[in-house]
């Protein structure tokens, strides 16, 4: 039986969700800043595809094949916004709050799944 890769996946997803929430907070804070363009992080499946196991560099001549960490903080500058105001600001508060709710829900789901799995593991240790 293969060990579920769940804990790593859940924590990675939660880190991505936190980053996304921080981006949403940036958008909301700048909802009235003239010329501010709403931002969005790269989708999680793209982040997941770009993450691979890095080999250890034990010698300075070893080349790195890319940074596996923090690929998730890459921003896509222009998201498709619901409205652009006269001042060039493309933040729509409703859109941002919907996204924030979505992030909160997914985060809770992850936390609960991890908790359940953890309980399952514990159940096997204490009989």
């Amino acid at each position: 039986m293969t060990q579920p890769y769940l804990f790593a996946l859940a924590s990675q997803h939660n880190r991505w969700l936190s980053m996304r929430q921080a981006t949403i907070a940036t958008n909301v804070a700048n909802a009235n800043t003239p010329g501010f363009k709403a931002q969005e992080v790269t989708p999680f499946d793209a982040v997941l595809d770009s993450t691979r196991i890095a080999m250890t560099a034990s010698n300075p001549k070893h080349m790195s094949i890319g940074d596996i960490q923090q690929k998730d903080s890459d921003k896509i500058q222009g998201q498709d916004s619901w409205e652009v105001t006269h001042s060039g600001n493309s933040v729509n508060l409703e859109q941002e709050l919907i996204k924030a709710g979505e992030v909160g829900r997914e985060y809770r789901l992850n936390a609960n799944v991890v908790k359940t799995f953890h309980r399952m593991l514990l159940a096997s240790t204490k009989v």
Partner: protein, 139 residues
Amino acid sequence: MADPLQTILKIGASGLEAQSVRMRVLAENIANANSAGATPGADPYTRKIVTFESEIDDVQSTAGVRVAGIETARSAYRLEHMPGHPAADEKGYVKLPNVDVMVEMADMREANRSYDANLQLIKQARDMINQAIDMLRSS
């Protein structure tokens, strides 16, 4: 790299701060909507406008907001014919502030809405932090 969830609290706080300053300036405008000068031909109170700019955090590539400055509006003063007023010029006209209370009210509603949105995100971030902590709680 700092925890993004902690950053949200900071960004949200900067938003709350900026919107409060905006609200304060709006209150000043409304309070002085009828403050004329005291000497003949004197300029009355001038409407103030808050401008915002984003405050970029290079490490995080996230951005809070801060008040860039409080400028005075350049629209024309209202003129009213009140010959007995101390600020009346030789033709009897008094300059009154260029404050339109309706506009200030509309602006106030917008500031209120932005404040609410920032507060909502802070609450959301706090919930997320609590959920992460709750994972440690033995059930």
